[in-house]
């Protein structure tokens, strides 16, 4: 199909489909997020990406009671209702989500230069606050993602703020431009800038599984997988997806586990067999601290106030053909 540098827009009744050369996306109205991100025939999403707030409790977090003081964010991370979805196709902003019968006049030949969807989520905190995640999709398939956290007075400090992508199979490697090693805001002076490739999705072997694997000040990260869950796809060729910083560097971690899975284990052998890829792209990361492990707080400069706004913005880009 000749897309002529335009997106093919498919007005479904539960989803909005966007297609172009080499890609096909499904934005779900029912499931409150991007349900499918298919590039060159390979699915990249296991479940809809959502904002993330929790990190698996570190020994220092436990020591100073941060996991107790900020426990609300565990619930917010665990379940996050979507309260509002907006859609704008080129310059047209839909007042209501376009489903039948309102869409009956459309055809299978609807095109647009740019489509923007936004999902608003409400946190299970007291008081509640909202996060608005917007996706701007361009004709070449690039998705600009902006996640905005709205500060709310009275909320405890955030462990982390970012977007969490869960991918159906384990990445074989990832490559990034940023700092060497595992870094945190208060532990990154020794990180050397450069481009690094990491094989597999290593989980740092802290005696008790906990938050690990963060990479601060990253310009881009490219994930590579070789397998899918598609029963009709016997191909084992590697395929990749690129996440690129937009305006500001981001922090990321690429692990086979969610923070909840890490949280549950007291030893590494209790972690489930590694199956998926959990990519967190963070705009705000709390420091790890280190003065002691029985009370000393992380230095104030490395706290994340939940009373202030935070955001993370990045682009998802197709690999260059």
């Amino acid at each position: 199909m000749d897309y002529q540098n335009k997106l093919h827009v498919i007005y479904g009744d539960g989803t909005l489909g966007l297609q172009g050369k080499n890609f096909a996306y499904l934005f779900s109205y029912e499931r409150g997020g991007l349900e499918s991100l298919k590039v060159a025939g390979k699915e990249w999403l296991y479940r809809e990406p959502k904002p993330t707030f929790w990190r698996a409790t570190t020994d220092n977090d436990r020591g100073n009671g941060f996991n107790i003081k900020s426990a609300q964010w565990l619930a917010a991370d665990y379940a996050l209702p979507c309260t509002k979805i907006t859609l704008k196709v080129d310059d047209h902003r839909f007042k209501h989500l376009p489903i039948a019968p309102a869409t009956n006049q459309f055809s299978n030949a609807e095109y647009a230069k740019q489509v923007k969807l936004s999902y608003t989520y409400q946190t299970l905190t007291n008081p509640a606050t909202t996060v608005k995640v917007s996706y701007k999709v361009k004709a070449d398939g690039t998705i600009k993602v902006v996640a905005k956290y709205h500060g709310q007075v009275g909320l405890p400090q955030l462990p982390v703020f970012g977007m969490r992508f869960i991918m159906p199979t384990q990445a074989t490697k990832f490559k990034y431009e940023g700092l060497s090693g595992e870094t945190y805001p208060d532990r990154m002076a020794g990180g050397k800038p450069g481009t690094y490739e990491v094989t597999g999705l290593p989980v740092t072997k802290y005696l008790v599984p906990q938050e690990n694997g963060m990479h601060m000040a990253t310009k881009w990260v490219k994930l590579t997988r070789a397998t899918t869950q598609n029963n009709a796809d016997p191909d084992k060729e590697s395929f990749s997806l690129l996440f690129k910083a937009n305006k500001h560097d981001f922090a990321f971690s690429a692990l086979p586990y969610t923070s909840e899975e890490l949280e549950n284990a007291t030893h590494h052998e209790e972690l489930p067999p590694a199956r998926r890829t959990v990519l967190v792209i963070a705009g705000a990361v709390r420091g790890v601290g280190g003065i002691d492990s029985w009370g000393a707080d992380v230095e104030p400069a490395y706290h994340i106030s939940a009373e202030e706004d935070h955001e993370v913005r990045f682009e998802i880009k197709l690999p260059e053909a």
């Binding site: 570190t58 020994d59 072997k205 690990n212 030893h267 790890v288 601290g289």
Partner: protein
């Protein structure tokens, strides 16, 4: 003399027939042996020993020390930890005593002077016993000489028999214990029996934050002394005020059973002879001080060592013994601005605390472990180590000399649970406190640490112990070092808990985990140099905020630096019964209660000796130009 079980209860009994502590020099029969590094005067007793385990003193067999006793059922490897061979439960606990909530105990004489707690350990149900036996013939190089046995480390109290005769008793788990075997020794068919108790009154002094093991966990050897023998060597190299020249004085303590002479050779690192002198042999031979017009100073960047060789001859000129010792010239002092100066430059401690640890064998570690640790130090700009909280294996001190690692050599002392309860200071039954009953035991630990390691240039600080509060007895330990050694500083952190003793204890102001703000508050009005004997608690994903300390070091020369807590996670490899994989386990994983669980995992290295991610941060800050 017969062995008495009640010694276990009595803090005033800590060594019986044990030879006095002396320098850690090694004697060889010939110069060739020195080159090969293998002495024919030494016979290792490491290997398989016969073994009996008893749950407590009451159920152990009778007469096991007799040469014809037939009750030995098992074998155990020496050196090893009894718990790691699954005889006794592995247990990790931090500040509490291991009997917390299980047995009510108080230290002898701590509450009322007259209450000596008789039976506290000798009649205890938690005091497991390991009985070891080894049969041996004397190696050719040892025959016809005086023979002693050396235990390099035994937790926690040992009784020794040879060929059915009681030989002696020792405590102080982490320093060598030597006994003269000569009177009862034969050339062949000797039977040595060692009875090791997990607990004695010394347990009150060894409440370190670590897995609580027992057993013969370091090497055992027989050592022969020829008719003239260098028993002790005290090197006293000094650097002149101009930091150009220096002097070497030394004192030898000889054991002489015949007349003879000795030669003293000193060569530089390139083996160019600088001194060659001959002395007649006396019981105590003082070697006249020799002036060096220029001395090549020792420090972390240039750990320059001179070679000393003492050769001992009898009157007819037969070589009896060769004693090599590498030494260095360095000078440490505190200047009028309260800055620690090494060789006239400000001392910067980029240090770590290091427990001896191997995830497969606990505190029984290998030469390879030690060498790998040194390699890790050098690769990551770590220039100092605190031997927390006990003296280390003898070889470690030599490695530190050779590689320029500054040492804080700590005594085997921690009585944490006697003065701190759930974080609160509560010293009602603190030992050693100011108790006269406990003073000789802790002074002996100070003396042994000094006498054994006094010749190592790497040692810049004697540390009196760890977290034992502060009162008269620890002040007396400080005085011991001051009376015997003017070439080093004393260190003790615990005096910050009892400021009345500040004038008598520790040349330096030492804290642990004091946040940067507190450090700066002190430094603004420093009247002693400051260091953090423990900081940056590297438990799990940690070591954030180190830059705040490094900034203060730049600003205040009185800040000498610190020792990260700590070097390596203490965790134990076990085979996971579910997966069959080798996995790391920690406190509580052995059903051991009360436990402090993963709190022993505070290293900048994982227990498998791979670095944690934080190491790159440590390397960066420790590598900054100072």
């Amino acid at each position: 003399m017969e062995a008495e079980l009640k010694w276990l209860d009595d803090p005033a009994v800590y060594r019986i027939n044990q030879l006095p502590a002396h320098s850690d020099h090694q004697a060889y029969a010939t110069a060739e042996e020195v080159l090969d590094g293998k002495s024919s005067l030494v016979q290792s007793l490491d290997g398989q020993w016969d073994f009996i385990f008893a749950e407590n003193p009451q159920v152990r067999p009778a007469n096991f020390w007799q040469s014809d006793f037939e009750g030995f059922t098992d074998q155990i490897t020496v050196p090893s930890e009894i718990e790691m061979s699954d005889y006794a439960q592995i247990h990790y606990i931090n500040t509490w005593y291991p009997w917390e909530g299980k047995i009510f105990r108080r230290p002898a004489g701590a509450l009322e002077a007259e209450n000596l707690q008789t039976g506290s350990f000798s009649q205890a149900t938690d005091n497991s016993v390991g009985i070891y036996r080894k049969k041996f013939n004397l190696a050719p190089g040892l025959k016809g000489k005086q023979i002693r046995v050396r235990f390099e480390g035994v937790e926690r109290a040992l009784y020794l028999w040879l060929n059915g005769h009681f030989i002696g008793y020792a405590e102080d788990s982490f320093t060598p214990s030597e006994f003269n075997l000569t009177p009862y020794l034969k050339d062949e068919d000797n039977v040595i029996v060692v009875e090791v108790f997990k607990h004695s009154s010394a347990s009150w002094l060894e409440d370190q934050d670590m897995f609580r093991f027992s057993g013969i966990f370091r090497s055992v050897s027989l050592i022969a002394q020829p008719k003239i023998h260098v028993e002790d060597l005290h090197l006293m190299p000094t650097v002149n005020d101009d930091f150009v020249g220096g002097q070497l004085a030394m004192k030898l303590k000889l054991e002489t059973k015949e007349a003879g002479y000795l030669t003293v050779d000193v060569a530089d690192a390139d083996h160019q002879t600088l001194i060659h002198e001959r002395y007649e042999v006396n019981d105590t031979t003082t070697i006249r001080p020799t002036n060096f017009e220029r001395v090549h100073l020792w420090d972390t960047d240039d750990p320059y060592l001179y070679h000393l060789t003492i050769k001992v001859y009898n009157q007819s000129g037969t070589l009896l013994e060769v004693v090599p010792y590498d030494f260095g010239f360095r000078r440490i002092e505190i200047n009028q601005d309260h800055v620690i100066m090494l060789n006239n430059h400000r001392l910067i401690i980029n240090g770590v605390n290091r427990h001896e640890w191997d995830a497969h064998s606990g505190r029984t570690i290998t030469m390879a472990d030690m060498k790998q640790d040194i390699t890790t130090f050098k690769a990551n700009n770590i220039n100092a180590v605190r031997t927390c909280h006990y003296p280390d294996r003898l070889e470690w001190y030599q490695l530190c000399d050779q590689n320029g690692i500054y040492m804080m050599a700590e005594n085997n002392l921690e009585s944490h649970g006697t003065w701190q309860k759930s974080g609160a200071v509560e010293p009602s039954y603190n030992v050693p406190g100011s108790l006269k009953l406990w003073l000789p035991a802790v002074l002996d630990r100070a003396r042994t640490n000094f006498e054994t390691f006094k010749n190592h240039p790497a040692i810049l600080f004697w540390s009196l112990g760890n977290e034992s509060y502060a009162a008269d007895d620890i002040a007396a330990m400080n005085k011991f070092y001051k009376d015997h050694d003017d070439s080093r500083l004393t260190h003790y952190e615990g005096v910050c808990r009892n400021e009345a003793y500040r004038g008598q204890i520790s040349d330096v102001e030492s804290w642990m985990y004091l946040p940067p703000k507190g450090v700066e508050k002190y430094l603004k009005h420093a009247d002693k140099p400051f260091l953090e004997c423990e900081y940056m608690h590297s438990m799990g994903n940690s070591v954030g905020g180190m830059g705040s300390y490094i900034k203060l070091m730049k600003k205040y020369p009185q800040y000498a630096g610190g020792f990260i807590w700590d070097f390596i996670d203490q965790a134990i490899f076990v085979k996971d019964p579910v997966t069959g994989e080798e996995v790391l386990r920690y406190g509580g994983d052995f059903d051991d209660r009360h436990s402090d669980y993963e709190f022993s995992g505070d290293g900048i290295m994982f227990a498998d000796r791979t670095p944690k991610p934080a190491m790159q941060e440590v390397k960066y800050y420790y590598g900054l130009p100072k």
